[in-house]
């Protein structure tokens, strides 16, 4: 109960007296910003499965980049773009629905990384581990710059294509009629999701970045209706998840990435429950009136 009885020491002091906590906070906030502006479209357009597939599909790129000694961020980005391209290719040249083409490539990429990992032995597996769970406790300035660039790209990308995203989310035909080039916009959105996923790997890790892409925007859609408001709400809730997650990890020794993701999901469930309860009460109220 120290977070109630001694709020300054619990909530503020860790960030003041520890440089690594400030770095972790910045990394978490940039993750929340990037994932909330992009994740909102993922949620609104029903692309969660693609987001999940991308979050895991970057692994072979990381592994191959590590083996040949290239920057692993580049490897991850290339893998994400190859996956996105592959999904579009399968969708364009087969009668299969999109989730099937995502699913096929998802397992394909996962199987590829397991095969690569199992045919090699040695300590580099530990390095790959960093990407599964992130390593927000060892963030340096280079990581922050990389995340800052990704955040800028995401915010500008979403701002430039805002109208196209918005119209095609609700009516693809109309987007075409308005000359908004929905196919280009879709490709841009996929690229932005890839950037968001790859940039957040170090902070939350490959297995949990999906939580940030989905949970805060999903909570936002439960609370507000306009898209910019959903993004702002997602950013706010993502920030809360980051701060509480970091503090839980700091005070109780739990893994940081998992703590942040768990808080984001708990907030979603809490909002969902509160909404259901208030709907119930409103419903009962109406019945009583009629």
């Amino acid at each position: 109960m120290e977070f109630l009885t001694n709020p300054v020491d619990w909530w503020i002091q860790p960030f003041i007296s520890n440089g690594f906590m400030r770095n972790a906070l910045w990394a978490g906030l940039l993750t929340a910003l990037t994932t909330s502006v992009v994740g909102t479209w993922v949620v609104l357009r029903g692309m969660s499965f693609l987001g999940d597939a991308l979050a895991h599909g970057v692994l072979p790129g990381v592994a191959i980049a590590f083996l040949v000694g290239v920057d692993t961020t580049v490897g991850a980005l290339v893998a994400a773009l190859v996956m996105v391209g592959g999904i579009n290719l399968i969708r364009a040249h087969s009668p299969l629905p999109e989730d099937t083409s995502i699913g096929v490539l998802f397992v394909g990429f996962l199987a590829l990384v397991v095969v690569i990992m199992s045919s090699r032995s040695g300590s580099w597996i530990g390095d790959l581990n960093r990407f599964l769970f992130g390593s927000i406790i060892a963030i340096d300035n280079r990581d922050l710059i990389r995340q800052g660039v990704a955040a800028l790209v995401s915010v500008f990308g979403v701002a430039m294509f805002y109208r196209a995203f918005l119209v095609m989310t609700f009516d693809e035909t109309q987007a075409r009629l308005l000359g908004l080039r929905p196919r280009l916009a879709h490709a841009v959105l996929l690229a932005l999701i890839s950037v968001a996923v790859v940039a957040s790997l170090k902070a939350v890790g490959n297995l949990l970045v999906f939580a940030f892409l989905i949970a805060p925007p999903a909570t936002g859609t439960l609370l507000v209706r306009r898209v910019p408001l959903i993004m702002a709400t997602a950013l706010g809730l993502g920030t809360v998840a980051v701060v509480i997650g970091l503090l839980v990890s700091f005070h109780y020794g739990a893994a940081a990435g998992a703590s942040m993701a768990l808080v984001a999901v708990v907030i979603f469930l809490a909002v969902l429950t509160a909404r259901a309860l208030s709907d119930l009460r409103a419903g009962r109220h109406q019945t009583a009136l009629s």
Partner: protein, 336 residues
């Protein structure tokens, strides 16, 4: 709960982390916090953080059990290969005077953090860097390693294959201890005279243990000095006491790797042709794979050794010296 064999390496760390999150949050009561705080608030007492319980025991001995507060990072029973550090761990590392680690890639998931800590706040002493290391993981000389592993011997590969499990050879450890003692004096400010006394005393104990172990193992005839282990952890033991490691259930110096059906089958055939009487499993890990192998071979014992972490006193593995002697006794009992 058992994992499907082919779930892949990523599933192991996932479970490990899930488990550690639960145990750590479950253990973190206010009692722990106040104990840690009391330690932190004691003035003028050197603060040494050690990654594994085995090295923590060694550091306690070198610091005469009194000169420094020794904080253990990876809890006893935790796998040093798969420990997932938290921000609390980072805070402990940052506030220490000295961090003592095994190095050589043992603390796989900590490497990144230790490098950052070293660059920003606290000196890190890696014991493995002061040891005459062994390079190739022994089981790769045998049929059960996948082909293609040998053709890529660039420098990175050589470095990756350095065996980090140096503590299984007390002679090598004893030779590295003066460097560790110097670091305790230079970085943590311990009293040099007292550390020197305790260093000599501990080296004497190590020497006695070494003689004891050699005596215990002498009952094993030369022809039976063959080990089948869980993962490639016993290279230094084999090197010191004249054993041959003919194979491992997980043919890798890392526990985060996985085995394949083909590798297990090859190992089973090797065990049969060499007539090996025991498979040595590890207290830290599930014995499922070793049991399965034993079931396939038949007429073979599965013996659990203490490897990456101290056991408790009831296991006779509560200290580093006890652990070495207990392992020797178990190995001698199984092979003689």
């Amino acid at each position: 709960m058992t994992l499907p064999r082919d779930a892949g390496s990523w599933a192991r760390p996932l479970l490990a982390v899930a488990a550690s999150v639960f145990t750590i949050t479950a253990c973190a009561g206010p009692a722990d916090d106040s104990a840690v705080l009391a330690d932190l608030q004691t003035p003028n007492r050197a603060e040494v953080v050690v990654t594994t319980s085995i090295w923590a025991d060694v550091v306690r001995n070198l610091s005469c059990n009194a000169l420094a507060t020794v904080t253990l990072l990876i809890p006893p029973g935790g796998d040093p290969h798969a420990y997932e550090p938290s921000l609390a761990a980072r805070a402990v590392l940052d506030s220490a005077d000295l961090v003592v680690a095994n190095g050589l890639g043992l603390e796989e998931t900590l490497d990144d953090v230790l490098e950052t800590v070293e660059a920003e706040s606290t000196p890190v002493f890696r014991i493995g860097e002061h040891v005459d290391t062994l390079r190739n993981s022994p089981s790769e000389d045998h049929d059960n390693s996948p082909s293609g592993d040998h053709d890529n011997d660039d420098q990175d590969d050589a470095r990756e294959r350095v065996d980090p499990h140096v503590w299984f050879d007390p002679v090598r450890v004893s030779a590295a201890l003066p460097a560790l003692a110097s670091a305790l004096v230079a970085e943590a400010g311990l009293d040099p005279a007292r550390v020197d006394t305790c260093l000599t005393a501990y080296q004497d104990q190590l020497e006695a243990a070494q003689a004891d172990i050699t005596e215990t193992l002498s009952v094993i005839p030369q022809a039976r000095r063959q080990l089948v282990t869980n993962h490639d952890a016993f290279g230094y033991f084999a090197d010191r006491y004249g054993f041959e490691i003919i194979g491992s259930v997980i043919p890798s110096p890392s526990t985060l790797a996985t085995t394949s059906a083909g590798q297990l089958e090859a190992l089973a055939e090797l065990i049969e042709s060499e007539d090996v009487p025991a498979i040595f499993a590890e207290a830290l890990y599930s014995t499922d794979d070793a049991d399965a192998l034993a079931g396939r071979v038949g007429n073979i014992e599965v013996i659990t050794l203490y490897t990456g972490s101290l056991g408790d006193d009831s296991d006779h593995a509560g200290t580093y010296l006890e652990l070495l002697k207990t392992n020797a006794r178990l190995i001698a009992g199984a092979l003689s």
